[in-house]
């Protein structure tokens, strides 16, 4: 199960990252931004937008596979690692500024996900669902 989660969340993160990069590129190639068919034509004339769509579909299939076993509460929280990777990529690839507060927030997110990983690993949450007498 631990391996299942590790592979699943890594895949989810990879698709989300693909999405982010493709969206950025699709948007940059379609400039100037306007609400027009010309702009839409520019967006769809580049391969980037299809990468973004593929990223969406991949992320969705991965998420639905994860949810087969993963409880929604912890899994939804863990999926926010995407916020951290998006920030790191914006800074690293697109040279966008990152504030100290954002770095602190990212570290708090990572700490939370480490707690969730330990919760899975320690076996304390081995039974995901409450027994009838525990409600």
């Amino acid at each position: 199960m631990k391996r299942f989660y590790l592979i699943g969340f890594t895949l989810l993160l990879a698709f989300d990252t693909l999405n982010l990069l493709c969206f950025k590129a699709a948007g940059a190639h379609a400039l100037p931004l306007e609400m027009s068919t010309a702009w839409l034509a520019r967006v769809f004339s580049h391969p980037w937008v299809y990468g973004a769509i593929a990223g969406y579909i991949g992320a969705f299939v991965t998420w639905m596979s994860l949810l087969k076993h993963a409880p929604i509460g912890p899994a939804f929280a863990a999926s926010h690692l995407e916020v951290v990777t998006a920030m790191a990529l914006s800074w690293w690839v697109f040279a966008e500024p990152v504030t100290t507060t954002q770095v602190v927030g990212a570290l708090v997110i990572v700490t939370g996900i480490v707690c969730l990983a330990f919760a899975e690993g320690s076996g304390e949450a081995a039974k995901n669902h409450l027994a009838p007498h525990e409600v």
Partner: protein, 119 residues
């Protein structure tokens, strides 16, 4: 926050939480089997479509909300949804919430809120 923004905000929390719960209801159905058969089973039943509909509605709601409220405040919503989905999972799917799990989920929510404030 005036009336319309508040309405969009409440709709966002309800739709996002509802959508994720619908996805869990579809994905967690043990009668679905595995592989392609599982997808056929899920796509032939309403839950996954309820989830997708909520997802599309959330997207529209989010764009409308951000036209009224700055993004940094908008991101705070995401933090609230994390907690809402945790509570809903406990109530509807009777998911076990251990102290370590609750700590982890609350830390992620706090971190997302801090990132939002710092944007």
């Amino acid at each position: 926050m005036h009336g319309l923004a508040l309405a969009l905000w409440i709709a966002y929390v309800l739709l996002d939480t509802g959508g994720q719960l619908a996805f869990k209801a579809a994905a967690g159905d043990e009668r679905a089997g595995d592989g392609l058969a599982r997808w056929r089973y899920m796509l032939a039943r309403p839950w996954i479509w309820v989830g997708i509909a909520c997802y599309v509605a959330v997207f529209v709601d989010w764009i409308a909300f951000l036209s009224l409220v700055p993004l940094s405040e908008g991101v705070l919503l995401a933090a609230i949804n994390i907690v809402a989905i945790m509570v809903a999972g406990r109530i509807l799917f009777r998911e076990r919430l251990t102290p370590l799990r609750v700590t982890g989920i609350l830390l992620v929510a706090a971190g997302v809120a801090i990132v939002g404030v710092g944007s």
